[in-house]
């Protein structure tokens, strides 16, 4: 347990030190990249809650990135720039949508659940495309970034530290959650659903709650992401984006708190590297993902420590 804290402390220290270092050597691009990775890591952490710990293969998680981003964009469109409002609406709207989708989907399982979550996300994607006022297919440019007290999101370094803090907070929240009573029931239902029912746990309410929490957290990530890219398109909600986040979770190692963060860093750095070589990097990434699934089971976190008991 202590060794884990030490590792986290080291990682945090590194991340804190990164911006001044990178700026000193004239590589501001990597500050932005790392910031993007940390924001998506929040999305991965939220997915890990329901996927890694809950066993729910939700292929539609990117929907909440889209909702969060559009919350910022749409509020800005109508002249509201208060960051607090942005984040609140992003989280709230995501939670509500997650509640609606989850209520219908969680009654199913297995293949059905995967297809249904995918379908609902696609539905939101089409909704996003068809509303011409907010840019439709082309998306919309953010008029202004969210305005926060004490922080200027237009300063890349300040934004970076905000992302870092929020990422650490989400990891902390999830780690508390999965060891709480609620979390244990969720994990039990994943481990052996029949047994869980036999001792009196009905999976549905716990799974639904987890789904909503994960959606809300991912909505926050979406609001941050919208601010980061300054440009909001329905493509944020595409299922390839969902697949990417899933891969971060798997790559990093499911059912571990650090896994999704490691996975996000690994996947996105790797994508960045590959895309520097060739614009057709996906033709390499694709088979690599296939191979990693077939052969590489425990994920990167397994290298560092044993999974949670």
């Amino acid at each position: 347990m202590k060794s884990r804290l030490v590792l986290w402390a080291i990682a945090t220290a590194v991340l804190v030190a990164l911006p001044p270092l990178l700026l000193a050597i004239g590589q501001p691009f990597y500050v932005d990249l790392t910031r993007r990775i940390m924001i998506l890591a929040i999305a991965a952490v939220s997915l890990n809650l329901i996927l890694g710990y809950g066993g729910m293969v939700s292929f539609g998680h990117a929907a909440y990135i889209g909702i969060g981003a559009y919350a910022v964009g749409i509020l800005g469109f109508y002249g509201h720039f208060n960051g607090g409002l942005h984040f609140l609406v992003a989280i709230g709207a995501s939670a509500l949508v997650a509640l609606a989708i989850g209520a219908v989907s969680i009654r199913t399982s297995g293949i059905y659940f995967i297809m249904i979550t995918l379908a609902f996300t696609q539905m939101l994607y089409y909704l996003g495309i068809s509303v011409a006022e907010f840019g439709g297919d082309d998306g919309m440019r953010l008029k202004r970034r969210s305005e926060l007290p004490f922080l200027d999101l237009n300063d890349p370094v300040q934004f970076y530290y905000l992302a870092l803090v929020l990422m650490l907070i989400s990891v902390f929240l999830v780690s508390k959650l999965v060891n709480s009573r609620f979390g244990m029931v969720l994990r039990a239902c994943k481990s052996n659903e029949a047994r869980s029912r036999a001792i009196g746990f009905s999976p549905y309410p716990y799974r639904l709650a987890a789904f909503v929490i994960a959606g809300a957290m991912c909505g926050l990530a979406g609001a941050l992401y919208g601010n980061h890219t300054n440009y909001i398109t329905p493509g944020l909600m595409s299922w390839t984006q969902s697949g990417d986040i899933m891969f971060m979770v798997i790559l990093g190692g499911m059912a571990s708190t650090a896994g999704p963060v490691l996975g996000a860093f690994a996947l996105l750095f790797f994508e960045d590297l590959l895309s520097g070589w060739t614009q057709h990097w996906q033709v390499i990434l694709g088979p690599l993902l296939v191979l990693s699934v077939i052969f590489f089971r425990r994920g990167l976190a397994g290298i560092f420590y044993k999974p949670d008991a």
């Binding site: 292929f59 995967i114 011409a132 891969f247 057709h280």
Partner: protein, 307 residues
Amino acid sequence: MTWQLVFEQLLNGLQSGVTLFLMAAGLTLVLGIMNVVNLAHGSLYMVGAYLALAAARWTGSYALGLALGVGGALVVGMIVEVVVLRALYERDHLDQVLATFGLILFFNELIAILWGRAALFASPPAWLRGHIDLFTGSRYPSYRMAIIAVGLATAVLLWYVVTRTRLGMLIRAGATNRGMVAALGVNIRLLNTVVFGFGAALAGLAGILSGPIYNVQPGMGELVLIQVFVVIVIGGIGSIRGALAGAVIVGVVDTLGRAFLKPLMATVISAPAAENAGPALASILVYLLMAAVLAFRPQGLFPARGG
């Protein structure tokens, strides 16, 4: 909004439906029998379309292009089954989803490398470029009518194979109890490859037929695939009957919705509001339908078990 127009859109819906059916039939069998989630099914749709287009240009003959396209999809499908899917049968659905997702990335990019990212132009064969006269007095594109015919013929063929042949019997047995079929000494590996290849061929056919109507471009398969998922959820996994029913329902609802929802809504609410709300609602109509089916009959309209 005349009756002729409605009928025409109905036919369009039917045409879109049978295209979905061709894809759904293969996928529902793979899901039902082999219990494998295969996201790359859309890639086979795309492969069929591209191979047929390339072959037709090369040989100058549409028919030859069609044959090579379907054959090519069949071969690619079987290769995918042997190389990738076999390693995934025993794994959980998550692994299958991710691995086949990797395949999608691979195929999309491969096609982009070979033929570029821009949409290609595919045209129907010369002898199908005309119109035929409907009993309603209006005219309807021959090509679309041909698609409907091919689709329905395939449905009949599939019905025959599944209910009247030994292969079909094995398929149905596999859909209800995979382990038992294997235990009975049936070469389950060969059966799997055959079923998968067959499904791939159907998907390829769907891609080829759709080429002239929709876009031929990388990523075309995924757009259709999700609709196919909706079809299967509505119709029930593992059931060909369900796939047909679901496909026709989805095709018709989607087409009619896109054509008539905006004008219908404009009669009830203001025109500018309908301008936005109409297309928005139309685009999500089938998903709402899916949600409704799930709420009342989560196993679909014609589930395989018991059939």
